[in-house]
């Protein structure tokens, strides 16, 4: 029952995204232009881009893209449509489907963004597999934390500012771990170095998904 509901809701999310192409293309354009800004700034400054800078800039761009892409999962839903969901689905399945959909969207955006980054700024990565795994874990992690934050922020008045204020401190520890693992992947260090971090990341993702699912029922009827 729950799985059927979640499947239907994810199907609905994908359909919505496909029909409202302007939102998706807006995010894609945001991604491209921010990568391009990084590229232009470094070209003009004639500053050599070291692997460390490359790594950090990639994740900062991803962080901003993630805030914008996941913010709309609750903020842009109209009140009437939310009320409709309340009548037909359980809060748990709404939350899980939103997280899964955001995870998919973020994976797509992160891989796309990384491709643009590599085309414009070169590819210093030595351990490509670990790098990609880390990238996908990062995408899921962003989705797991920001979906709930988006739900919280959508209830307040200045929600787009709140999204950043509430989300950044929570995502910071995760971001540090992600940057560390991808740094190790860029330098081609032995994979055993990164196992600890990857395990911690998985644990954080599990914690934030479970707390989101537990807490969402308290949040969703409060308008």
């Amino acid at each position: 029952m729950l799985i059927k509901e979640i499947r239907a809701l994810i199907h609905k999310e994908i359909l919505f995204e496909w029909r409202m192409k302007y939102a998706l293309s807006g995010i894609l354009l945001y991604l491209t232009s921010s990568v391009f800004v990084v590229y232009i700034v470094f070209e003009l400054g004639k500053a050599p881009i070291t692997p460390t800078t490359w790594n950090v800039l990639l994740w900062v761009v991803m962080l901003f893209v993630a805030t914008n892409a996941t913010a709309k999962s609750f903020i842009q839903e109209s009140r009437e449509r939310l009320l409709y969901y309340y009548t037909i689905a359980s809060p748990e399945s709404v939350m899980i489907s939103k997280i899964l959909f955001n995870g998919l969207l973020m994976t797509f955006l992160v891989i796309g963004g990384c491709a643009i980054f590599m085309i414009l700024l070169g590819n210093p990565v030595q351990d490509m597999e670990l790098f990609m795994v880390n990238l996908i874990i990062g995408a899921i992690g962003f989705a797991a934390s920001f979906t709930m934050i988006s739900g919280i922020a959508s209830k307040a008045t200045n929600s787009s500012t709140l999204m950043a204020i509430l989300g950044f401190p929570i995502i910071l520890p995760m971001l540090l771990l992600l940057i560390k693992v991808s740094g190790a992947a860029i330098d081609g260090l032995d994979r055993s170095v990164s196992y600890d971090e990857l395990m911690t990341l998985a644990a954080i993702i599990i914690i934030s998904i479970t707390t989101s699912v537990i807490l969402f029922p308290y949040l969703w009827r409060s308008n």
Binding site: L166, P169, I170, Y218, S222, N223
Partner: protein
């Protein structure tokens, strides 16, 4: 009943307040009773805040929300004192006011989270909604980030042995005589925090009662006309 319990708190806190103050001498190790004890007290206060947030979600009683927010405020206050005392300590032991240390960064993250909690609170007008949403954020952020604040410094330390990191108790060889003062200091600071918070909670309660009375007065006044 609550009043009696609070007075007890006040008395105990007042007595215990002397304990850390007696220990003021000119060696920086004394800062242990302030910096580290305040740090512990901050975490206890924040956990109290968390517990009351959970209580509020279970049973939305306005009192729980006030308690949660006031304890979070005291937690921030103690966090700021902790950072200041730590900064002074760092100046004399590590030679700089601010060092790029994982624990310092983690504390900054924690403070940012709780400051965001208050921004969130102030941007929601409706009281019940504010209570519920801020409680959800309090629990979510605690669950998502605070455990990491403990895990992350250890992880970095274990990967870079001897490379920075916060020298813990063992480095200063916390012997039994220091412990004798340190644990009461933790309890003392915690109780002072609780005392401050309960004072604020009580004034808030009184204020709401006064407001209710005023509202009733104006209401009855208008019906008498």
């Amino acid at each position: 009943m609550l009043g009696i319990a609070l007075i007890y708190y006040v008395i105990i806190a007042g007595i215990l307040m002397d304990v850390p103050k007696l220990a003021i001498l000119h060696e920086t190790i004394r800062n242990l009773f302030f910096h580290v004890a305040i740090w512990f007290a901050m975490f206890i206060l924040l956990i109290v805040s968390l517990v009351y947030s959970i209580k509020y979600l279970k049973k939305s009683h306005e009192y729980y929300d006030i308690v949660a927010s006031e304890f979070a405020l005291m937690g921030i206050f103690f966090g700021l004192i902790g950072i200041t005392t730590g900064s002074v300590w760092a100046r004399f032991t590590w030679g700089d006011w601010w060092v790029n240390d994982p624990k310092l960064n983690a504390t900054t993250i924690a403070l940012l989270i709780y400051l965001a909690y208050f921004v969130l609170r102030s941007s929601i007008a409706d009281e019940q909604q504010r209570g519920r949403i801020s409680a959800v954020y309090n629990i979510f952020s605690f669950a998502a980030a605070v455990p990491l604040i403990f895990i992350l410094p250890r992880l970095t330390d274990s990967l870079h042995p001897g490379n920075g990191g916060n020298p813990g108790f063992s480095a200063y060889d916390l012997d039994s005589s220091l412990r004798l003062v340190f644990y009461p200091a933790v309890v003392g600071w915690t109780l002072i925090g609780v005392w401050f918070a309960t004072l604020r909670i009580r004034t808030k309660k009184v204020r709401t009662i006064i407001e209710d009375h005023q509202a009733q007065d104006t209401f009855s006044g208008s019906t008498n006309k």
